[in-house]
Symmetry: C2
Subunit: 199 residues, 2 copies
DNA sequence: GCAGAATCCGAGCAAAGGCTCAGGTTTCAT
DNA sequence: ATGAAACCTGAGCCTTTGCTCGGATTCTGC
């Protein structure tokens, strides 16, 4: 049994160059993750691509899982922001409009770099998530559930789960198949979601 | 760079005990895959759990990828059979019925052991698939496309991809969330699919 | 029974990867 | 200018993992 190392930063960077080091490590990890999947992410490879010595890497990250966890946390935080905005905009809207807003927000983090988003999502499945990330995820689904419940959707928890799964899967599959335009996915997703909800 | 080993059997088992060995290896690999993901599948671990020496394992499988590839191939072959039956039953049926049959068939391989099915699907994403498995996948989607096209669904290729992604994602998510009853997923999926297709 | 084929075994090698540590360099505050 | 703190470096240790090889064991056909 391997004792599991913590997933938080070992120490916080204080100077600008240290922050740059941390940034470079994250960026390199994301690139490698995107190209070769979780298996390809090794601390040595990350350090090399980041142009940073392996020792420096370990000064801030206690292990490779911590690096990936940081990427996941950042993505989830971004998603939460997007969905918060969307949920606010949902208030008082009819359900069709609300669904549109929620789905569009869920696709938002795919817009900048769909391949990277898919890669990070994939990494998330192989990670023992820390409490903070779990809290982010919980809050995200809670937002969706609240909107669904406000429109009297039966079993809103299950519906939220199903809709989230559909959204991510379709976006990832489309990206993998070479689709570039994220906006082209939205109407298809809306049709499916409306059918699911019986609207 | 690591030179990639072939993914076919190194030599075919001739005696009964050899077939048992191969079976035990596959079974052990599936179990480990299910418990800890692709990363946990090491040839040593597989051999040990299978109750087989590492040497015996390598007599038949040229590497861990070949073992996983075999699992994927078997699952895909099974899926193809299920869908062939469904596609035959679709002939002359109206689209609502056809969609029902296709979705039910797609869920079929989740019925026996959903967790294992999800694990193997996940392994598939991390594998350089061999020609035979690719052919199986191509035939599967071709079947779906044909049925969709017969009902004048626009852009049937894209629709097939979207529907397949939705189906797998919802099934996996439900399984991960602890749902036991596969049949409970079908009606939800049907609603989404009918909405997607505008039926 | 017997020869040869098929099968099995597991110690151990080589490569890869996670991670540490002792020591050098840069930055900052005074 | 100077001492302390922050930061960086990379050789190298240790564990894990993929895989081979020589030899033991079992089966099959005659």
């Amino acid at each position: 049994m391997t004792r599991e190392p913590p997933v938080t930063l070992r120490k916080s960077p204080r100077q600008a160059r240290a922050r740059a080091t941390c940034e470079a490590v994250l960026e390199a990890a994301a690139r490698i993750l995107q190209r070769g999947g979780v298996a390809a992410v090794s601390t040595n490879a990350v350090a090399e691509l980041a142009g940073v010595s392996i020792g420096s890497l370990y000064q801030y990250y206690p292990g490779k899982e911590a690096i990936l966890a940081e990427l996941v946390r950042a993505m989830r935080a971004e998603m939460l922001e997007d969905l918060r905005r969307a949920a606010r905009a949902c208030e008082g809207q009819e359900i069709t409009r609300a669904v549109h807003l929620l789905l569009a927000a869920s696709l938002e983090h795919h817009r900048a770099d769909p391949a990277r988003a898919a890669a990070i999502e994939e990494a998330e499945r192989h990670l023992p998530l820390d409490a903070e990330t779990l809290a982010l995820k919980a809050e995200i689904t809670a937002l969706v559930i609240a909107v669904l419940r406000a429109h009297d959707v039966p079993e809103p928890e299950r519906a939220a789960r199903d809709l989230a799964a559909m959204t991510n899967a379709m976006a990832d599959a489309a990206c993998l198949a070479g689709e570039r335009d994220v906006d082209a996915i939205l109407p298809r997703l809306e049709r499916a979601a409306r059918g699911y909800l019986g609207v």
